[in-house]
Amino acid sequence: MRAVEAIMQCLKAEEVDVIFGLPGGANLPTYDAIYDSGIRHILVRHEAGGGHAAEGYAKATGKVGVSLATSGPGATNLVTPIADAMMDSVPTVFITGQVRTDLLGTDGFQEADITGITMPIVKHSVMIRDPRDIPSAIHEAFHVASTGRPGPVLVDVPQDLSRADIDYEPITSVDLPGYQPTTSGNAKQIRLAARALANAKRPVLYVGGGVVNSNASEQLRELALSDKFPVTATLMGLGAFPAPHEQWLGMLGMHGTRAANYAMDEADLIVAIGARFDDRITGKLDEFAPHAKFIHIDIDPAEISKNVPAHIPIVGDAKDILGKLSTEYKALNAEPARMNEWWSKITGWREQYPLGYEDSADSEIKPQFMIQEMLRVTEGQAIVSSDVGQHQMWTAQYYDFPEPRRWINSGGAGTMGFGLPAAMGAQVGCPDDLVVCLAGDGSLQMNIHELATCADNDIPVKIFLMNNGFLGMVRQWQELFWDRRYSAVDTGKHPDWVKLADAYGATGMQVTDKTQLGDAFKEAIETEGPVLVDVRVTPEENTYPMIPAGQAARDMVG
């Protein structure tokens, strides 16, 4: 059969039910095969939208997201989603068309060395050189993308090879001798970790996106509740532990809660689970958690002791390790009272420094209030996708995620424009859920064209636009650290968002009065199809609290 038909067979064997993509010259054969493959294809309006949609789908469902693009500019438009998927460990497979093999290296029309360009930002990539390798390459791509520490895999298929006739035999296993991720944690190390926990007087569980990726929330909860361990999470880890909860300290890091950051600062034992001690967490590395010993659980050995030397490293799948760790810990019958003093301290911080803001005296909508209203109206049950900036941090602070895979955002890469296409992907993956895109007015326009995709494909994403007329986070930094010299952060008066929504075939609404906000959200949710609610919020509100970049947790301001 034609190689492209073999690709479809492989995708079906991998249980792919949807592809986000955009055709072009070099992947015409692939699109010809899609035509009657039975696999749902969603035509995006820009390849970056397709890439982020695949990410959103993967983050919401836990399955591999798939995105297609043609050669040259089609492929280079995927660079940002690929980089984003790498930073946040999102299982994704990108299949790009490439020019014919006789044109390779000749600067042919729409030729770009996409495997070369993406080399530093993929988990793995391959350019097909022999059409007979295509089926194994596709299966290997899914295997590598979804196992170990997940990530993006690129398969680049030259146009002539995709048309070649090959013998297709279904492949049931992959053979990659150089790729053998460790999944099972070392028993001795787990026992040691349990003993360390039993001896800790001021422990903290520091949870990252790895717990979400590993579907280990239940095991995390079991460990946390096996005693009274305080839990904090990174931006990527939100939802891994149910919020609100008496043991939940809130997010940590640059815009985390004081309780979480101060707890890290004074802890004697920190258990990092699927987290990587990013600079947004540690601040000034030399002064990070100065009293703590570290148990570091991660499936990627290279993360262990990369930024912070671990005392008890445990390589493996968080789900496996946390389950065993709970069992080992319970067997030790540790004395819960040893943490009494620690909890009275934590409770003190919580009472003294709750998250808060000064609400407006008039009808002005404070951005934090907007998130609280969204939480109230959705009853915490929405899948929330965000863009990047202040609105993202406020959502992370004020929206309580009761379970994992409900918070879809771009953490490591901080990709503006991620929110809408990711929400689209999440909605396609979870058609029965309410999916809200909590966008910023700076970010939303970066991929606004996907609103047309949503309208045309009946993808009923609700966009709640936090419109402050600024590139808000940059403005905040200019206000705080650059003498209020507002350089290039005013996003102006355009577009007219209601008209824009209308033009794209969505429903547009605008809210300027806080007393009408909740009802507007309700109306948006009840309206069929995609809706954009333009919410005018306080233009110059700062995201607090904050650890200024490069400073320590105890230097928090605001």
């Binding site: 080399m119 150089g178 040691l192 360390a196 005392h311």
Partner: protein, 185 residues
Amino acid sequence: MGDPGTKEVFRLEDLEATGGRLMGRKHVLSILVENEPGVLARIAGLFARRGYNINTLAVGPTDDDQVSRITMTIDGAEHPIDQVTKQLHKLVHVLKIRDLDPNESVRRELALFKVEADAHVRQEIVQLTEIFKGRVVDVARRSITVEITGDDEKIEGFEQLVRPFGLIEMVRTGEIAVQRGRAET
């Protein structure tokens, strides 16, 4: 990585950190890779991106035509070697990495030295070459080219000795190495 042999402890204070430290010695990494296009680019790219310096690099086939060996030397005082090897291991085409202790391995490099040599110093250079068990591979009216094989210390020793004559150029292959004894590298 799973079992670094940490002591069984009861007191948190007794726990010691692992990894992340610089280990001052020179490291010879012997890396077996799948013989696939772009493998060297991936490794070079990884080093460039993470800011690691490669001192020497030698690439060649092995007894298995599906597998190539890359031998590289890096300075452990500049880079945390465990990070370097762990990052390398993440490349799917990297099959095996051995961090060879220079004292526990046989290392060889080939170097060509082109030295200024008119008639009256030529004999002196030839004598030095013999002492170093090298070979004269080219003689011209005003220069002589010598081949030396050995570990880096021997080659650098020879370089120091001939430099005063006027070293026109030096070409080195980069070290290759093999583990001493029966064990496979």
